[in-house]
């Protein structure tokens, strides 16, 4: 590290120097007037800047980078529209506790409040969707603010932090001293831990439970507690259900793994939760998409909630024992005291719950010539399962099919927008994932609707020469909305049919090798061709138009009241 103590530097140079010292090698951004001094100073920095095509893309890339690597992702934009374009990406990172730092330029400090050209009060705009944010008006505040921003973003329950820096704060110079610019956050307490009494209460519940289930959430990945959760589940003989963002936190092939819970979880998983006498919530927040109707949720279960954020305790579900702290540390404390208990009766019961699910599964049908999204996902999994593969999904039907049919064995192998459900997330997030983990095989699985929200980032992929494979699950509809219309709005398909361009031609226009697939037999060859091709590939899968994600818990319904896969569909498909 360069010795810069006391050296006079511009705010812009200090900015990059500090970001570099925080361990960042790549940033994602888009220049503009108020951030130009920072871009000019980039020439002295070792940081690689990825030029995006829209600032929303920059935030999703930073987010994808963070989720793929566990490191803080950085996005840069100018003032005004540049900054407001970041809002969706910041809110996405906020709801999924993803550590990103957003740097925005701001008009000169003397112009603030004058409605100057490209002036927006971005700290005001992002106040409710950031973990914390800053307005920096002097060069001598840059170093400490950047250090605080990274610390706040990555510690405790991670989240997005925005730093808005006025143009004059970037341009003027001051003495730079890294060591003197230590974070000063007297009120910030990210490191809570439970009391001894609470551990004892938890152990008591665990040892007395006959029908316990672990609810495994995103917190396991953030905390890095994959091995601890596995040790815990194995020792205590407790099955594990996953939230959408918890996928990858527990190996799919593990005998204690049940699969995803919630609105589109398999029936036996939700029934298991409803029948349980103890829920162990590990780093999850009882989102409405996993609980269904709260009044009837797991009615006979005691609840232990291990959670780093005290504000989550008793928010949606009243718990019996809260253990507030870092999941990994809490499990380290609990593990040696957990007794091994034979729960084969409970596990046998769960096995029986699986019932006829296998018969209903579309995977077990003979090839009818029709191409279903489930086939695409399943074949993709079979072809790529052995490698270091990261699948980045968008939001909608394909996202749920991916969660159901792609079996994730490793942590950080699925990246998806859960809490905010941001369409357009996948393509840019995959860019971030690939930049963070260049050795990984990165697949985008995206619907035809979401793809068109951020497809401009195809140019970023090409410009950065990133080997990313894109699988468009193209059904000509906003599929999940269409499904809701089918179930709850008498099939009134208002504003859901899409007239799409030829995605293969579009891909070719960007210089991306593109293949359109219409039959099941072409899926595996196309995936193999994509993997073999030296450069990005776009696969346009024209799938069944009115296919449905099953099972489904309707919004507000009880978790055990599911719309099951009808065996009728099975017959129709088989007859043809």
């Amino acid at each position: 590290m360069k010795d810069t103590a006391g050296k006079s530097m511009t705010g812009a140079s200090i900015l990059w120097e500090c970001i570099e010292r925080e361990g960042v090698k790549h940033v994602f951004g888009y220049p503009g007037g108020a951030i130009l001094p920072a871009y000019d100073a980039l020439k002295h920095s070792k940081i690689h800047h990825v030029l995006v095509r829209h600032e929303q893309g920059a935030t999703h890339m930073a987010d994808g980078y963070a989720r793929a690597s566990g490191q803080v992702g950085v996005a840069v934009a100018t003032s005004g529209p540049g900054a407001t374009n970041m809002v969706t990406g910041i809110a996405t990172a906020m709801l999924d506790s993803s550590p990103i730092v957003c740097i925005t330029g701001q008009v000169g400090s003397k112009l603030i409040g004058s409605d100057a050209f490209q002036e927006t009060d971005i700290t005001g705009v992002t106040l409710p969707i950031t973990k914390h944010n800053y307005l920096v008006t002097h060069a001598n505040e840059v170093a400490r603010t950047i250090r605080e921003a990274f610390y706040v973003a990555r510690s405790g329950r991670p989240g997005p932090v925005l730093v808005d820096i006025t143009k004059d704060a970037q341009q003027t110079s001051c003495a730079f001293d890294w060591d003197a610019a230590k974070p000063q956050l007297p009120g910030y307490r990210p490191d809570l831990s439970p009391e001894q009494k609470e551990y004892e209460q938890a152990l008591d519940l665990i040892h007395n439970a006959k029908r316990p289930v672990i609810l495994a959430g995103h917190g396991i990945l953030i905390s890095g507690a994959m091995q601890e959760v596995r040790d815990f589940a194995e020792r205590a003989g407790i099955p594990v259900a996953l939230t959408l963002l918890g996928i990858g936190a527990f190996p799919a092939a593990h005998p204690l793994n049940l699969g995803m819970m919630g609105m589109h979880g398999e029936a036996w998983v939700n029934h298991t939760i409803q029948e349980a006498d103890l829920l162990l919530a590990f780093g999850m927040r009882f989102d409405d998409r996993v609980t269904g109707n709260l009044k009837t949720y797991a009615p006979n279960a005691k609840k232990i909630h291990i959670e780093i954020d005290p504000a989550e305790i008793n928010k949606n579900v009243k718990v019996d024992v809260p253990l507030v702290g870092d999941l990994r540390e809490v499990l380290h404390e609990l593990l040696p005291q957990v007794e091994s208990i034979d729960r084969s009766e409970w596990l046998d019961f769960i096995d029986k719950l699986k019932g006829d699910s296998a018969v209903r599964d579309i995977q077990n049908l003979p090839d009818s010539g029709h191409l279903y999204a489930a086939h695409v996902i399943n074949d993709l999994w079979r072809e790529t399962r052995d490698g270091d593969t990261v699948v980045v999904t968008d939001v909608g039907q394909h996202q749920m099919w991916e969660a159901q049919y792609y079996k994730h064995e490793k942590a950080r192998s699925l990246i998806t927008s859960g809490g905010l459900g941001t369409m357009g997330f996948a393509l840019p997030a995959a860019v971030g994932a690939k930049v963070a983990r260049p050795e990984a095989e990165v697949w985008v699985v995206v619907g035809d609707g979401g793809f068109q929200m951020t497809l401009c980032e195809l140019a970023t992929i090409v410009q950065e020469k990133l080997k990313i494979n894109i699988a468009i699950i193209n059904n000509g509809f906003l599929g999940m909305v269409r499904q809701w219309q089918e179930f709850f709005y008498e099939r009134n398909y208002a504003a859901t049919p899409l007239l799409n361009p030829d995605f293969a031609k579009l891909g070719e226009a960007y210089g991306i090798h593109s293949i359109t697939v219409t039959e099941r037999s072409q899926v595996v060859p196309s995936v193999r061709a994509a993997r073999a091709h030296d450069g990005p590939v776009l696969l346009n899968f024209r799938v069944e138009q009115e296919d449905t994600v099953y099972p489904m818990v309707a919004a507000g319904a009880s978790l055990h009241e599911m719309i099951r896969r009808p065996s009728k569909i099975v017959e129709t498909a088989a007859d043809e």
Partner: protein
């Protein structure tokens, strides 16, 4: 039930907005919020009253702590404490009514701070009930204008709600003898 919080925050621009925004986005309705300086220039003190049940009250506290600029939160609802509100009331006081109004003010130990030919301004400090009581009896004379500061609160006795708790345990069993007026 009405909960009273004493909240110490860093004295920085925008902190009041952060606190107010938190209550808005978590859909808690602030009944009263006052903010002012403390014995330390870098620290501001808020008194916030909000209607919430026990569980909500605990979550409000946890959410306040999530704000990076919040130093200390104490729910003093069930603690023995002094709660004060200040009001200025402009009341119509014609020649005939004037002596009655002055008499009422004196009963409530309120002060007359402005005298005009047709009106008086009365300043009163006390708990909210006391101020409401004075308002009630003044109303027949004609309340022309009123302003209230919102409540400020402090725990009784030597126990402090302070950002420097570690300067020694000052908890005391002695009950302060001071009485509410």
């Amino acid at each position: 039930m009405l909960n009273t919080y004493v909240v110490y925050v860093e004295n920085k621009p925008g902190v009041l907005t952060r606190v107010a925004s938190l209550f808005r986005r978590r859909a808690f309705n602030i009944d009263s919020l006052t903010v002012g300086r403390t014995e330390k220039p870098e620290v501001s003190r808020m008194t916030i009253t909000v209607d919430a049940d026990l569980d909500q009250a605990r979550r409000i506290e946890a959410n306040l702590y999530k704000l990076v600029n919040v130093l200390l939160v104490e729910n003093i609802t069930s603690e023995p404490s002094i709660v004060r509100d200040l009001a200025m009331i402009k009341v119509a006081a014609t020649h005939e009514a004037r002596s009655h109004v002055l008499e009422l003010a004196s009963v409530f130990r309120a002060r007359v701070v402005d005298v005009a030919p047709e009106s008086l301004i009365i300043e009163i400090t006390g708990g909210e009930d006391k101020i409401d009581g004075l308002l009630e009896v003044l109303r027949p004379y004609g309340v022309l204008e009123m302003v209230r500061t919102g409540i400020v609160a402090m725990r009784r006795g030597k126990t402090t709600t302070s950002t420097s708790h570690n300067e020694g345990n000052q908890d005391t069993a002695e009950e302060d003898v001071s009485q509410s007026v």
